[in-house]
Symmetry: C2
Subunit: 320 residues, 2 copies
Amino acid sequence: MSAKKVIALSGGVGGAKLVLGLSHLLAPERLVVVTNTGDDFDHLGLRICPDTDTVLYTLAGLADPERGWGRVDETWTFMKAVQAMGGEDWFNLGDGDLALHILRANRLAEGASLSQVTADIADSLGIGAAIVPMSDQNVATMVNTPDGALAFQHYFVRDRCAPTVTGFTFDGVELAQPAPALMSALNDKVAAVIIAPSNPYVSVDPILAVPGLRRQLRECAVPIVAVSPIIGGDAIKGPAAKMMRELGVEVSALEIAKHYQGFVDGLIIDEVDGDLAPEIADLGMAVEVGPTLMRDLSDRIKLADLTVNFAARLEGGINR
Amino acid sequence: MSAKKVIALSGGVGGAKLVLGLSHLLAPERLVVVTNTGDDFDHLGLRICPDTDTVLYTLAGLADPERGWGRVDETWTFMKAVQAMGGEDWFNLGDGDLALHILRANRLAEGASLSQVTADIADSLGIGAAIVPMSDQNVATMVNTPDGALAFQHYFVRDRCAPTVTGFTFDGVELAQPAPALMSALNDKVAAVIIAPSNPYVSVDPILAVPGLRRQLRECAVPIVAVSPIIGGDAIKGPAAKMMRELGVEVSALEIAKHYQGFVDGLIIDEVDGDLAPEIADLGMAVEVGPTLMRDLSDRIKLADLTVNFAARLEGGINR
């Protein structure tokens, strides 16, 4: 491929794995990672951005490989002191992680935008790729349940995904604009748009709900390819499978294809789901079958390579 | 003494030692500790209150005995991460210490007053005595130097007390009012006012500069006694002696007496300074000579006992 940019839409853990693979494959100036900010929330006066931070820590080589969030070699003295003082302790904040939250909250209070602050933090962590929160305006993913709507982190962390999901709303999204760096990336030469194997409902949909963004991504007139987060009827991590069951859809890569139908040009599904390829193709998208489980860095780079090459092969066929 | 209250004015380390002694001697409801807030400052979006926090940690049994500030068994992962991210790192904030700063900043942002928040923190730490920041309005001690004025923590921590001191100003003090809990303590039955062995210029004077407070303390018509922070021509800790030299006054308990002349009824000086007693008495105050070096808890309780008894003995002679 040329020096055109690759725009990757990413949630947290799963998305960050593919993004890490892409970062090993592409020159830094070619990679633009758009992160979901629907999970972001205010906690103890700090602005916490879980998906953005997971991508930052992953690309900086600071992510904890076991936990899936936060920093490696983390300590927890702060949380113990918060608990001893009777403070809110349902959301774990590591001592090193606090540096990012405090520096960011301080910059935001001084009037900097989330995307400016994120770019500076990425820079200070030695990350070459552009890490762009989807919007500088706050968007709050709400998880609808039979007992009312829950703020995402209340559903996800405090209530450990126990409530039954009936749907999602993205509060504030009607007033959100794509972050300036995303706008300018859309106006650059783009090679492909990649949807990482993140939760479609709460990681990717909030990004695509930013007014105009869906249209602008398609108007790039480059292949848009997604990687299915569902492998063999289950999600690798997180509540995607549970959500699908509760929403009454089959937990299957086919449903992922249906979810993205009309937006993506191609879907990568795992080898174990190869028999779904014809049905997915019938939905009007290209299908690539390959190993999508990312156990180690080598797997991540291979899947990134598969994804980028799949998009490149589709390029000729794109005619919108 | 009766169940009347003892009001203690305190700065950081030295003051907190005497306050700890007083807390072992007096029923919790009898002790009101008024802390200097002139050292307080905003840092990384947090409100840091060094003297108040030293008193809180000391009375909660959480103070680090070696360092003289912050918490025992502290970790420093946050500071390392701040440094790695190029953040401001001249002021050390321990991981556990951050719990206090973040919980306080969050409450202040929600509209609570500093004295309310401090009372709640003291309560959560199991402290029975009232810990009252002198004022809910911000007062900033400025250290005047030949090269201009320095915010106190810039002088004290960042510049390690190196600049030559020419004087002090307490920015904002003209708009400060005594904190409500201090006001109500002044209207309670008071047994004595104790000035802890803290730096007279930057720990005690800011408190006494709060408009009306000096007069109100005297109008309690109870003995006001101070403990000299200067022992044998030097300060135990901190820049008091250096400041005195730079201000052109002798580093001597006699100068402490002169500093408080007209306000205190009695001064406690160390045994090594016993020969100064006649000169101090000539200034119009009672003098008590005793062991004022507080090496351990037993020393602290003994000095607290000496101070309280000295005040009690003076009570009969007070006639204002």
